[in-house]
C-alpha cells in the first residue's frame, strides 16, 4: 500500500526530471512524459482509493542532525486517498488540455515538465509522513508556481506576478519553517504521526505559538487575508496553470495541511479565532472584489480567494471534514471553470469580458459546462458546491462562540455576493449581443480541450451527492453522511436567490452595459481589491527597498570606508616616515648621533638598574 502511495509523487517527479534534462526533446516526447506520468498517478490513486481501508504508514530515517532526526515516509489513509484522486484528476486534465492550449509554444517541453514537478510536489505534501518532507513539497510547489506564472513571454506583467507569488508565500513560510522547527525541538521528532500523538507535551502557550507560526505559512499558500494578494496577479500564468494552482494544488495545500495537523490546531483556541477572523474577511473581500473585475480570469481568481475563506472558516470552527469536502468539490468546479474560461479566451483572443457576449450559440459545450461550474460555485442545488457549502454554513451555525458566529454571518452574506458575481460573469460572457469582433464568430476548442471540460463537469454536478453516501462521508472523516438542515438551508437559499436576482435585474435593464455599474463609487475600490496591494507596497516593499539601499550605502561608505581609510592612513604615514628618512647628510648625522646617545642612556639606566 505505502509502496504504491510512494509511487504517486515519484512518477511525476521522474517525468519532470527527464523533461528538464531534455528541454529540446520533441514535443511528442514531452507531452508523452507529462500526460503519461499524470495518467499513471491517476490510475494508481484511483486503485488506492478503492483498496485503502485504514491508515498505513512506512517510514525510514532520512538524515540526522545531532539528536534531531528527519524521516522520509509515506502516510496513507482514506482521506489522503480522496485528496490524491482530486489532485491527479485535475493534473491529468490540465496536462491533456495543455497539449492543445500551448500548441504553438516553443517552450512547451519545460512547461510540461514543470507541471509534472508541480503535481509531484503537491502529491508529496499530501502523502508526506514527516514535516520536513512536507516542507520540501510545499516549497517546491511555490517555486513551480513561480516558474509557470512567469512562463508567458508576451505578458509584461508575468515576471512581476511570478516573483510576487513566490515572495508572498515565502514570507508566510518563514513562520511555517519556524513552527516546524519548534515542533522538532520540543517534541524531538518531525514525524507527523508521532507529533500528533504527543501534542499534549506542548504547553498551551507553545501550542499557540507553533500553530500561529504554521498558520502564517498556511495563509500564504492558501491565499488568506492578508497574504492573499499574490493570487489574483497569478492570472498572468497560462490558463491551465491557473486551473492547476487554484483547484487541486498550491492553494489547496494550506487547507489540507491544517486538516491533516488538526490535532495541533484543535486545542489551540486562540489560533482558531485568528483563523476565523482571517477566513471571514477573506471570503467576503474575495467575493466583493470579484464583483468589479473586467478580466474573466480575475473574477475566478478572486472567487478562489473567497472559496478558500469558506474552507478555512470550516477549519476554524473545528470541522476539518467539511473543509476537505469543500476542497474536493471546489477542486472539480474551479478546475472546470478555469479550463472553460481558457476555452473562451482561446476563442475570443482576450480576457476582458467587455469584448465577449453572446458566446453561448457558437460554443455550446463550453457554455453548458461553464454553466454547471458556475452553478456549483454559487451552491445552486443540487450541484456539488451546494452540499459542501451548506455543510460549512451549518457547522458554523452549530458552532459556539463569537468566532463561529462571525464565520456564519460572513458565509451567508458571501453566498449572496457569490450569486451576484457569478451571474454577472455568466450573462456578460454568454448572453446578449457580441460586443467585440472576435465574439461574433466563436468556435469550440479542439477536442483535447473539450474533453477535460466534459469530464470535469461530471463531478462538478454530482460530487455533492457522494456526501450522502456514508462510505464517502466516513472516508472524509464525517461522523455520518452529510445532512441537510432546513433552517440554515433556507437562509442560504434566500441569499443566493437575492444575489442572482440582483445581477439579473441589473443586466436586464441594459444588456449591453456592465451590471457592475450599480456598484457606483465602490466599483473602483472593489476592482482594486480594496487597495491592499498598495498597502502592502507602502508598508513592506518600499521600506525594505529603502532599507536595502541605505544598508548598501552604509556598507560601502562606513564599513568598507573604514578599511580603505586605514589603508590610506597607513600609506600616508609611510610616506611621512620615508620622507624623514630621505634627509640630507647633516640632519641624518645628527639623528644618528642623537639615537646613539638615547640608546646609550637607556642601556646605562637599565644595566644600572639590574646591578
Amino acid at each position: 500500500m505505502t509502496t504504491w502511495a510512494a509511487l504517486l509523487p515519484t512518477m511525476p517527479f521522474l517525468a519532470a526530471l527527464a523533461g528538464l534534462i531534455l528541454p529540446r526533446a520533441p514535443r511528442r516526447v514531452a507531452a508523452g512524459l507529462g500526460v503519461g506520468a499524470a495518467a499513471v498517478a491517476f490510475v494508481v490513486s484511483i486503485g488506492l482509493a478503492f483498496a485503502v481501508d485504514g491508515p498505513a504508514e512506512s517510514s525510514r530515517r532520512w538524515v540526522d542532525f545531532g539528536d534531531v532526526s528527519v524521516t522520509l515516509g509515506v502516510r496513507f489513509d482514506p482521506t489522503v486517498a480522496l485528496v490524491t484522486v482530486a489532485v491527479t484528476t485535475v493534473a491529468l486534465a490540465v496536462q491533456i488540455y495543455s497539449v492543445a492550449y500551448l500548441a504553438d509554444d516553443d517552450r512547451y517541453g519545460p512547461y510540461a515538465a514543470q507541471v509534472s514537478l508541480f503535481t509531484a510536489a503537491m502529491l508529496l505534501v499530501v502523502v508526506a509522513g514527516d514535516l520536513i518532507e512536507l516542507l520540501v513539497g510545499w516549497e517546491v510547489m511555490g517555486i513551480c508556481s513561480y516558474l509557470l506564472i512567469g512562463h508567458d513571454r508576451r505578458l509584461p506583467e508575468a515576471p512581476g506576478a511570478a516573483v510576487k507569488a513566490f515572495l508572498v508565500t515565502r514570507v508566510g513560510d518563514v513562520g511555517f519553517l519556524l513552527g516546524i522547527a519548534l515542533i522538532g525541538v520540543h517534541l524531538g521528532t518531525f514525524r507527523i504521526t508521532e507529533v500528533l500523538a504527543s501534542v499534549h507535551r506542548l504547553s498551551p502557550a507553545m501550542l499557540t505559538a507553533v500553530t500561529l507560526l504554521l498558520l502564517a505559512g498556511v495563509a500564504g499558500k492558501s491565499a488568506q487575508f492578508p497574504l492573499h494578494t499574490w493570487l489574483p496577479d497569478a492570472m498572468a500564468g497560462p490558463t491551465p496553470i491557473s486551473a492547476l494552482i487554484h483547484a487541486a494544488t498550491m492553494v489547496a495545500a494550506g487547507v489540507y495541511v491544517v486538516a491533516r495537523l488538526f490535532p495541533l490546531f484543535g486545542p489551540a483556541h486562540a489560533t482558531r479565532e485568528v483563523l476565523a477572523v482571517s477566513a471571514a474577511v477573506t471570503m467576503l473581500i474575495g467575493a466583493l472584489a470579484a464583483c468589479a473585475q473586467q478580466d474573466i480570469k480575475r473574477v475566478l481568481a478572486w472567487s478562489t480567494v473567497s472559496q478558500l475563506g469558506y474552507m478555512s472558516g470550516a477549519l476554524s470552527v473545528g470541522a476539518p471534514p467539511a473543509a476537505l469536502f469543500h476542497l474536493l468539490t471546489h477542486a472539480a468546479f474551479k478546475a472546470l471553470l478555469f479550463l472553460a474560461a481558457g476555452a473562451v479566451i482561446h476563442a475570443v483572443g482576450t480576457n476582458t469580458m467587455a469584448a465577449m457576449g453572446g458566446l453561448r450559440r457558437g460554443m455550446p459545450v463550453t457554455f453548458w459546462t461553464m454553466t454547471v461550474g458556475l452553478a456549483a460555485l454559487v451552491g445552486f442545488p443540487p450541484f456539488a458546491g451546494f452540499w459542501s457549502k451548506d455543510e460549512i454554513i451549518s457547522v458554523a451555525w452549530a458552532g459556539s462562540g463569537w468566532a463561529a458566529l462571525l464565520v456564519w454571518a460572513s458565509a451567508v452574506v458571501t453566498v449572496a455576493v457569490t450569486g451576484w458575481y457569478a451571474t454577472r460573469l455568466w450573462l456578460r460572457t454568454f448572453f446578449g449581443a457580441p460586443r467585440g469582433p472576435a465574439a461574433e464568430h466563436p468556435h469550440e476548442p479542439p477536442w483535447l480541450m473539450r474533453g477535460p471540460l466534459i469530464v470535469l463537469a461530471v463531478p462538478s454536478a454530482l460530487l455533492g451527492f457522494a456526501g450522502l453516501v456514508s462510505g464517502f462521508a466516513h472516508r472524509l472523516g464525517f461522523g455520518s453522511s452529510v445532512h441537510i438542515e432546513a433552517a440554515g438551508l433556507s437562509v442560504a437559499l434566500i441569499c443566493l436567490l437575492a444575489g442572482i436576482g440582483g445581477a439579473w435585474f441589473a443586466w436586464q435593464r441594459a444588456p449591453d452595459a456592465d451590471p457592475a455599474r450599480v456598484l457606483g463609487p465602490a466599483r473602483v475600490v472593489l476592482a482594486e481589491g480594496f487597495y491592499l496591494d498598495k498597502v502592502q507596497d507602502t508598508l513592506v516593499v518600499r521600506p525594505v527597498r529603502a532599507l536595502a539601499r541605505a544598508v548598501r550605502r552604509t556598507d560601502e561608505s562606513i564599513v568598507d570606508g573604514a578599511v580603505e581609510a586605514t589603508g590610506r592612513g597607513t600609506r600616508s604615514l609611510g610616506a611621512v616616515l620615508s620622507s624623514l628618512h630621505r634627509a640630507a647628510l647633516p640632519r641624518a648625522a645628527t639623528a644618528v648621533l642623537a639615537a646613539a646617545v638615547l640608546f646609550g642612556l637607556v642601556a646605562a639606566l637599565l644595566l644600572g638598574g639590574t646591578r
Binding site: 540526522d64 542532525f65 534531531v68 515565502r170 536595502a548 548598501r552 578599511v563
Partner: protein, 502 residues
Amino acid sequence: MSLGQVALVATLALPAAGAVAAASVPARLDRVGRLAGTGAAALTLVASLLLLTGGTPPGSRATPIRPWHSIDVPWASGLDLRFHLGVDGVSYPLVVLTALLTLLCCGYTVWKVPEPGRGRVLVALLLAIQIGIVGVFESLDLVLFFVFFEIVLLPMYAVIAIWGGERRRPAARKFVLYTLFGSVLLLVGVFVVVAKAGSADIQGLTGHALPPATQKLAFTLFALAFAVKSPLWPLHTWLPDAHTEAPTVGSVILAGVLLKMGTYGLLRIGVGVTPEGARWASPVVGVLAVAAIIIGGLVCLAQTELKRLIAYSSVGHMGFVVLGIATLTATGAQAALIGNVAHGVITGLLFFLAGAIKDRAHTGRLIDLGGLRETAPGLAGLLGYAAIASLGLPGLAGFWGEAFAVVGSLRRGGPLWTVLAVVAAAGAALAAAYFLRLLRQVTHGSPTPAVARLAPPRLAGAELLSWGPLVVLALVLGLVPAAVLSLSADAARALAAVGGVK
C-alpha cells in the same frame, strides 16, 4: 604505510607535483602544461575519494577527534614541530569538495584561458592553492595548520592580480593585506595556546582544559582571524572586491572552498581547542552571524553588479554556517558542515555561470542584462537552477544548512537564540527576494542590446562538463544529505560535547 596514509600524503603531493610540472613546461607547450596540471588534479580527486576506504574503525572514545587515517612524523624536532595530518568526518567532505572544485577549475582552464594567457601558470597556482586548502583541512597540528593557512595567500593574490578584471590590483592587494591581518591574529592565538599547553597537537588539545582566561584570549584571536576569512560581518569587505575582479576560476575557488578555511577553523580550533572561550563569546558570534545574514541580504537587494551580488550572497550564506557553529549544538555543527559543502557546490556553480555570462555579454551590470532566456535558454535555465538552489529551496542542497542552523539556534534555547532563529529565518525570505530580483532582471523580459549580441548562445561541451558535477551534486545533496552528514555525525556530536551546551 596503509593505503589511507598513502592517499593522505597523495592529496598534498600530487597537486605539488602537478604544479611543478605545469609551471616548468615551456610557453609553446602551454596546453600540455594545463593538461598535466588537470591530470594531477584528477588523480588528487581519486586519492581524496580513497580516503573513505579502510579507515580506522571508530574504537576508543578517548579523544573527541578520531581520524580515519593519520600520519604523524617529526618535522623540526628542535622546535617540537610535527607533521601531523589526519582526516575525519568533519574534514573529509571538504577535502573532496576542494579536490573536485580544483579539478573542475583546471579542466575549465584547459578549455578557456582568461586574459593575459599563460594558462599553465594559472593551473599551477590553482594547484598550489589546493595544497594550502587541503592542508588546512587535514592538519592536526596548530603550527602546521597556520603554515597551510598562509600558503594559500600568495598564489590567490597572483591569480587575482594577473588574471583579474580592470581593477584587479587594488582588489588583490586588499585581499592579501586584509587576510594577512587575520593571519597575524591567528599566529598570536596559536602562540598563546602552544605556550600555555606546551603542545600544538590539535587532537590532544581538543577537550584538553586550558585555563579559562587563556581560552577567552585565544578564542578571541582565533575568532577574529577566522571571521576575516569566512568572512563574517563587519570584516567582509575584502570579499566583494576580490570576487568582482577575480577571474572565473579564482572566484569559484575563493567562494567554493577558500572561505571554508575560516568556518572549518572556527569549528575545529575555535570550538574544539578553546571550548570555554567559544561558550563565552558565542552570543556575540551568533549576533554577528545573523547580522551578516540580514545585511548581506539587504545589500544584495540593492546590488547592481552580477558578481558582486553573488559575493554578497556568500556573506549571508556563511552567516548561516557561522550561526550553526555558534549554537554549539550537534544540530548546529551538522548544519554548518552541510552548509559549507552546499555553499561550495552552489556558489561555485553560480560563479561559473556569472563568469560565462560576463564573458559573453561583456558586462556584469544588471541593468545591461535582461532577456537571457530568449537568447540563451540553456544558460538562463542553469542560472535559474543555481539561484533557486542558493535561495535554499527544500529538496536542493542549500536548504539543509540554513533550516537546521535555525533549528540549532532554537535548540540552544533562551530568548536571545530564539530571536536569532527568527531573524535568521526571515533572512531566508530575503534571499528569495534578491535572487528572484536577479532572475527577473537577467533572464526575463526582452533582450537588452548586450544580451541580444551574446555570443555564443549555446553552451560549450567543456562548460557542461565542468558545471555538470555541481548541478548534479546540488540535487543529490538535497535529496540525500546523509551522504555528507552520516560521515560527520559522530565527529559533530563529539565536538558539540566538547563545546558542551547540550
